[in-house]
């Protein structure tokens, strides 16, 4: 298939793997974090880590939007979904994320009108088709998804759809990266930057990582060769004593991002003072809410939500997985009490989640994992 095969060429993969082996120092251990859940998925689907020397370890970052949603926010969503007359819409993976009070799918089974949508535009269509019902869209995601919500919110206002509401849980990528870099229990040598988040924000926002923390960043595409090349580029920076932001994914990512998307987001959203991240706790200025201008369609203002912080189940170690402190298979309940069919933690829910990626592709590299 055009656009795909050339980025999965086994011979090129072997060549890149060989170059990576040549550039690493034998006695040194390297820890590189892939920020994006899409990268995690590719790594385990294609066995990218098997092509790396044993002293290069990939650490899975917090870039799966489903995995970082805290249980309290799920409960808030369920509380809204249970309101009489509400049609609650959300993306597929979100329906199975357990809160303290069950999942949205269980709420649906108990009678709430919860519907899966593929885009916020689908939710707006449902609102138009059901003028006598409130339609609430559960908005999650990083800057890749936030522009879609922002455009839809503006469209709802422009088209005067009074029964469309947004329960906003969008988050931004830079604050959690800074939190991870400040974390005392995590030593990282470099980052594989998120590809499609960067189509919106550009590569520039990651410049603080080399500037303030002296770590290289390479914004990467999603094919296996993209990732191998990006890993090589990180290692080459380290070998040459450079730390900068490089863009491996130039065929898609403009260094400055998409200015129109950033303008729309600035109009529709404003930063929350703080937002809770699963496993990372509260991070300042890391979440988005609807701005005052769009307060009329803010579901959090229309409905009373519990807003209670719910502690993760004791057995669940998603927090440590999200920080890269442990590998998924080292969690006490991985593959036993916690499976994709009956997930306890969010990392097992989404196919982007590190635990689900490990589980689905059976990659249990226990002999080479270094924690």
């Amino acid at each position: 298939m055009k656009f795909v095969d050339e980025f999965r060429d086994p011979e090129l993969g072997k060549h890149l793997s060989s170059e990576i082996r040549d550039i690493v120092e034998p006695g040194r251990r390297y820890k590189i974090m892939e920020v994006c859940g899409g990268h995690t998925h590719t790594i385990y689907k294609y066995g990218v880590d098997d092509l790396l020397p044993t002293n290069v370890e990939l650490v899975h970052g917090p870039g799966c939007p489903v995995c970082v949603i805290p249980m309290g926010r799920v409960d808030d969503g369920i509380a809204v979904a249970r309101q009489p007359g509400v049609i609650f819409t959300c993306f597929g993976d979100m329906m199975r994320v357990p809160g303290g009070d069950g999942t949205l799918l269980e709420a649906k089974a108990a009678g709430a009108d919860v519907r899966m949508v593929y885009s916020p535009l689908d939710a707006l269509r449902i609102a138009r088709e059901n003028p006598d019902r409130d339609v609430v869209f559960f908005a999650i995601g990083f800057e890749t998804t936030a522009p879609s919500t922002a455009l839809t919110v503006r469209r709802a206002v422009q088209e005067r759809v009074p029964n469309f509401f947004c329960f906003c849980n969008h988050v931004t990528i830079v604050p959690p990266l800074r939190a991870l870099l400040e974390s005392p229990d995590l030593r990282l040598d470099g980052f594989i930057g998120p590809g499609h988040v960067s189509t919106v924000v550009g590569a520039r926002p990651f410049e603080f990582i080399p500037a303030d923390y002296g770590k290289p960043v390479v914004v990467s595409g999603f094919e296996p060769l993209d990732l191998l090349q990006s890993i090589y580029m990180v290692l080459r920076q380290l070998a040459e004593g450079r730390t900068e932001v490089e863009n491996q994914y130039k065929r898609v990512v403009p260094y400055e991002g998409n200015p129109r998307a950033l303008t729309v987001m600035a109009d529709v959203f404003e930063l929350r003072p703080h937002f809770e991240w699963r496993g990372l706790g509260f991070i300042s200025h890391s979440g988005l809410k609807l701005s005052e201008k769009y307060a009329a369609i803010d579901a959090e203002l229309r409905y009373e939500v519990p807003g209670v912080r719910v502690a993760d189940p004791k057995a669940c170690q998603c927090g440590e997985v999200l920080k890269g402190v442990i590998k998924p298979w080292e969690c006490k309940v991985f593959g036993t009490a916690c499976t994709p069919e009956r997930p306890i933690g969010t990392c097992m829910v989404s196919s982007e989640g590190a635990c689900a990626a490990y589980y689905n592709y059976g990659r249990f590299a226990r002999d080479r994992a270094v924690v």
């Binding site: 298939m1 055009k2 656009f3 795909v4 050339e6 980025f7 994006c36 859940g37 899409g38 998925h41 590719t42 689907k45 870039g63 799966c64 939007p65 489903v66 993306f91 597929g92 993976d93 329906m95 199975r96 949205l104 799918l105 649906k108 899966m116 949508v117 593929y118 885009s119 916020p120 535009l121 689908d122 999650i140 995601g141 990083f142 890749t144 998804t145 522009p147 879609s148 919500t149 455009l151 839809t152 469209r155 998120p194 590809g195 499609h196 189509t199 919106v200 595409g221 999603f222 094919e223 065929r251 898609v252 403009p254 998409n258 129109r260 998307a261 729309v264 989404s350 196919s351 982007e352």
Partner: protein, 88 residues
């Protein structure tokens, strides 16, 4: 770019809440390439993925689009116009 198209199974109500394709195309960070198959109207164009699945897509962020163009689409919104000469 990986093309992970949803299929009819994804619309099966029996499987609600499960992304049955390889990958969740909506809540992940990853967009998919789609081809414009209808004229744009009020900022929305019909686009088709490589499996033939069609979707209304907001194209406000990429400006006017023409039939036949390929866009990187995420959650029903085109994030950028893909270069037809080069791979996405």
């Amino acid at each position: 770019m990986t093309v992970r198209n949803r299929d009819d199974r994804a619309r099966d109500p029996e499987r609600a809440g499960r992304c049955v394709t390889d990958h969740c195309v909506t809540c992940s960070d990853e967009g998919i390439p789609m081809r414009v198959v209808s004229e744009e109207r009020e900022g929305i164009a019909t686009c088709e993925d490589q499996a033939g699945g069609r979707q209304h897509v907001q194209v406000d962020l990429v400006g006017p689009v023409r039939k036949g163009e390929t866009l990187l689409v995420h959650a029903g919104t085109a994030l950028l116009r893909l270069d037809v000469e080069g791979p996405p």
